[in-house]
């Protein structure tokens, strides 16, 4: 007799009408015939998996978790959640060393930070890339994010006193990228919020949101991070009455959606208090706050809405903020996935697919020829910069550059 522990399936799986629009919108399916597609891998496969976990298919690993299927679904089925939940439940293969390295964004950041100039120099070398390609199957054509010598956390701690002086306060979930790779983005956020009369605090020891852990088969560790982060967020929201703002769309989606839906970490009491900074700022401006913009700012900006931003439906806030800046020629790029999907595109076996998925976007960017590409996601940034040569900035950094100092 076989036991199936998970006899009840969530994620609105029964509401699937088999209309197949998710399959039409899946970026992976268009370039990788090995992938069964969201409908097959999601609601269709779920029926078989409910019968016997044996029907779990290794090909589900090709899902990027971009969530475009969920945006497309007219029946509100959480297709990508079904696929990721199946991977969490049934995939018994151990994550490879490579996947562990790619997923441990905070650990790698802590390691690399003290030697940042050396690490940055080494990862740029062709020989390093060849070695990583051969030993770890991290594609040699990839460029790696640069590490910063100083973490954002230490910077903000040094400025804690002046931040505390502002009449209003928010907590900032900066994420690994701002902390280890691009503290400048964090400083830009502080600049913009300070201009609105808002001081910025750290959470009590945030950990990596865990998105890369989930997609790389380390959901246990991700759950520990989630529990820790929700505790920290709860302290900020409930005890200190703060809103928690973020500058990474994927961290935000993970905290708001993946924690309860995939990891079973309840966030109901604090979920609505975790917002993308662009939304927070837009809402303050709506309520009458003002920003003073430079008059000499003239830029052509093309905005790429990250997939996870589309899933939350919040691209509009970033767009409106950038449109407010006088002297900005704003171009909304077509809705498309850039192909990187976090650590997905770094893997040798996914490189070709990743670049093929992003190709139409890259082409459009080249045709538009903007001064800057705007985007709320750091991995999209790496992908677009590497693939097109254009500079990509977070809308917050653009805003910080455009306001008077």
């Amino acid at each position: 007799m076989k036991l199936q522990e998970y006899t009840i399936s969530k994620h609105n799986f029964e509401e699937c009408m088999k209309c197949t629009v998710c399959t039409a919108y899946c970026p992976v399916l268009q370039v990788n015939p090995m992938y069964p597609g969201p409908k097959q891998a999601g609601p269709d496969g779920e029926r078989l998996r409910l019968k016997d976990p044996y029907f779990f298919n290794y090909a589900l690993k090709y899902c990027m978790n971009c969530k475009r299927c969920e945006v497309a679904c007219p029946s509100d089925v959480n297709v990508a959640d079904l696929i990721q939940a199946a991977r969490i439940r049934y995939d018994r293969s151990k994550p490879k060393l490579r996947d562990r390295i790619l997923a441990s964004t905070d650990f790698m950041g802590t390691l690399a930070r003290p030697f940042a100039p050396v690490v940055n120099g080494v990862t740029r070398l062709g020989v390093t890339k060849s070695v990583m390609d051969a030993t770890l199957k991290i594609d040699h054509r990839r460029s790696f994010p640069k590490y910063s010598s100083r973490s954002f956390e230490s910077w903000l701690r040094r400025h804690a006193k002046e931040q505390a002086a502002f009449p209003e306060q928010v907590a900032y979930f900066h994420g690994c990228y701002v902390n280890y790779n691009n503290p400048g983005l964090g400083r830009d956020l502080v600049k913009v919020l300070n201009a609105l009369g808002v001081g910025v605090q750290l959470l009590e020891k945030e950990k990596c949101c865990g998105i890369a852990l989930i997609t790389n088969g380390m959901s246990d560790k991700a759950t520990r991070h989630a529990t820790h982060n929700i505790d920290a967020i709860r302290k900020a929201v409930t005890d200190r009455g703060l809103t928690v703002v973020t500058t990474s769309s994927s961290c935000t989606l993970t905290i708001r959606e993946e924690y309860p839906n995939l990891l079973g970490v309840d966030n109901a009491d604090v979920r609505d208090s975790v917002l993308m900074a662009t939304r927070y700022i837009f809402e303050r401006l709506e309520k009458g706050a003002t920003l003073r913009f430079r008059t000499d700012y003239h830029k052509k900006i093309a905005y790429h809405t990250p997939c996870h931003m589309e899933r939350m439906g919040w691209g509009v806030f970033s767009e409106k903020l950038m449109r407010m800046i006088p002297g900005v020629e704003f171009i909304q790029l077509d809705s498309a996935c850039c192909g990187i999907a976090g650590t997905y595109g770094f893997k040798k076996e996914n490189y070709e697919a990743s670049q093929a998925i992003g190709a139409p976007l890259f082409e459009q960017i080249r045709a538009v020829n903007p001064d800057i590409v705007a985007c709320d996601c750091e991995t999209c940034k790496w992908q677009i910069e590497m693939s097109t040569g254009y500079t990509v900035e977070n809308p917050i950094s653009i805003l910080a550059d455009a306001i008077e100092s």
Binding site: M1, K2, L3, Q4, E5, Y6, T7, I8, S9, F13, E14, E15, C16, M17, K18, C19, T20, P36, K39, Q40, P43, D44, G45, E46, R47, L48, L50, K51, D52, Y54, F55, N57, Y58, A59, S75
Partner: protein
């Protein structure tokens, strides 16, 4: 030999007929099976698909219980690919009398059925969907069996032993010589063609329709048609069969079957005229949901796929209006000794579980008439497809890294999956996405398993049995049929009939997601495909 002469003609393509044909063919007889429609269209395909341990009958009908447990163990050996060894629970709810459990367990043990009283907490862990309020649980060797697959496998084996099968052929008359039946006259329901076939013995294995066939032969058997209604849910919610530990009653068995689960049944006496068009009433639906939710509360919020009903071929013994107290025992009538009509045998009563035993009894009777003395080997010879015990083993032998559809094919066909074409993109393409049925599997069913209509294909492959109820697979499969048969117009008509038949099952439970799905299907076929 004239191709129209046989040693035995079996009327009825249900499990009893198919089993009897297999047994006769294995004993070296030249056999012909005649079925007016398709395999498993009657009670065979319209039940729970429960591999009874016999526990349900233990208290009231010890004889049936003993037959069940023996056949249960035999089927596990000979029909592995048709069976899911799930085990079953008999649960006691707070409203039930816990004292009955003792009576029940004793009766089971007496019948040779292993019945282990387990802690309710253990029952909840073994079966997470069970009603958490249960106060008692007994574990028994119940399971589930796919009747279509079982029927097809029996027929396939009969054919491998030289048997012939005529589907969609209705017996319209018997050919007599004095006081003997020496043959049958049939009419093909698809082509209208009349044929005559001859054999010294004819077996009536038509279930409830056996009443009519007997009348045609001029003898009378008092049958008692009892309708049982069931509901299919869109996916499995239980691992194990869940029964109520009480006197058998309505809607007290929940059976997991392949990708779905089934709650049933009811029992209502119906007139013979209704046997061909049984419908499920709103009252029956309400009863099934209400009672079913007591076994497993999740049922009340799970999407219902279809409602259907079958007619039990009970042989009446008394005037019990519910039909529940009639023994489900096997009835084999030799009309020569009973009515003075030579060459005619009726095998009826019984149930899906005991089909093999029924076939053995009927074949013994046939052999006695023909003066043949050969032992029955059906209890020890695996059916084609069941040479391996598990579908994991089958899939592993064929494919290095089986896809979901390949695993599904192995689970449906057992070792038969060795014969389906796969490996190229055309054959591996999916026809049915809900049940993961590939082009290769459909082709196999058309070429090797006598499937000539969409409904025939459904019974053999599960095409159209999934959540979408034919929304996508029906037109794709119709395309393959048209290609094989070289007739587009006929398949277009067949497609409409198939969808109409799917809707018949949706109609009694036409609300919520099921209705949305049906509506969507209508848009696709009417407005997109212009049918």
């Amino acid at each position: 030999m004239n191709a129209k002469e046989f040693d035995v003609i079996i009327i009825g393509g249900g499990i009893t007929g198919a089993g009897t044909q297999r047994d006769c063919a294995m004993r070296g007889l030249r056999t012909l099976l005649i079925e007016r429609s398709d395999i498993a269209t009657g009670a065979t395909g319209r039940n729970h698909g429960l591999l009874h341990s016999g526990a349900r009958y233990a208290v009231n009908d010890a004889e049936s219980a003993e037959e069940c447990i023996k056949e249960n163990m035999i089927l596990r050996r000979i029909a592995a690919h048709c069976i899911d060894e799930t085990d079953g629970l008999f649960i006691t709810l707070p409203e039930d009398d816990l004292a009955y459990q003792k009576t029940f367990v004793e009766a089971c043990q007496k019948a040779g059925i292993s019945a282990e009283v387990i802690d309710p907490a253990l029952a909840r862990r073994l079966e997470p969907s069970v009603n958490p309020d249960l106060i008692g649980a007994v574990r028994v060797p119940d399971g589930s069996v796919d009747p279509f697959r079982l029927c097809a496998a029996n027929m396939l084996d009969a054919k491998m032993h030289g048997g012939q099968v005529r589907l969609h052929s209705e017996v319209v008359g018997f050919i007599r010589e004095q006081d003997s039946i020496i043959g049958v006259r049939t009419q093909n329901r698809l082509t209208g063609e009349i044929e005559e076939y001859y054999a010294p013995v004819t077996v009536n294995a038509c279930g409830i329709w056996g009443h009519h066939i007997a009348e045609l032969a001029g003898v009378n058997i008092g049958m008692y048609p009892a309708k049982g209604a069931l509901l299919i849910f869109a996916h499995r919610i239980n691992n194990m069969v869940i029964n109520r530990c009480r006197k058998p009653s309505n809607a007290d068995i929940l059976v997991p079957g392949d990708t779905v689960c089934v709650i049933g049944t009811t029992s209502t006496h119906i007139p013979f005229e209704e046997c061909d068009h049984v419908a499920v009433t709103p009252d029956e639906v309400t009863l099934l949901i209400t009672e079913g939710a007591k076994l497993s509360p999740a049922l009340s919020s799970t999407r219902i796929l279809r409602a259907y009903a079958g007619v039990r071929p009970l042989v009446s013994a008394d005037d019990d209006p519910t039909g529940r107290n009639i023994s489900r025992g096997i009835v084999c009538l030799d009309h020569e000794t009973r009515d003075g009509l030579k060459g005619f045998i009726t095998i009826t009563g019984g149930k899906l579980m005991t089909y093999r035993l029924m076939a053995e009894i009927a074949t013994d009777a046939v052999c006695r008439k023909l003066g043949i003395d050969k032992p029955c080997e059906t209890a020890t010879t695996p059916l084609p497809g069941s040479e391996e015990r598990s579908y994991e083993a089958v899939a592993q032998k064929i494919w290095e890294k089986p896809s979901m559809a390949q695993k599904a094919a192995a689970s449906r066909m057992g070792t038969g999956a060795f014969h389906i074409q796969s490996g190229d993109r055309q054959d591996d393409a999916l026809i049915c996405e809900c049940e993961e049925v590939s082009v290769g599997e459909i082709k196999f069913a058309i070429e090797r398993m006598d499937a000539s209509t969409l409904t025939d294909l459904r019974r053999r492959t599960r095409v159209g049995m999934g959540t979408c109820q034919g929304e996508f697979c029906a037109c794709r499969a119709a395309g393959l049929l048209a290609k094989a048969n070289g007739c587009v117009e006929k398949e277009r008509k067949g497609l409409a009939e198939f969808l109409q038949e799917r809707w018949k099952g949706n109609f009694p439970i036409g609300w919520g997601d099921t209705l949305r799905e049906a509506e969507y299907t209508q848009w696709v076929y009417k407005h997109v495909l212009g049918l």
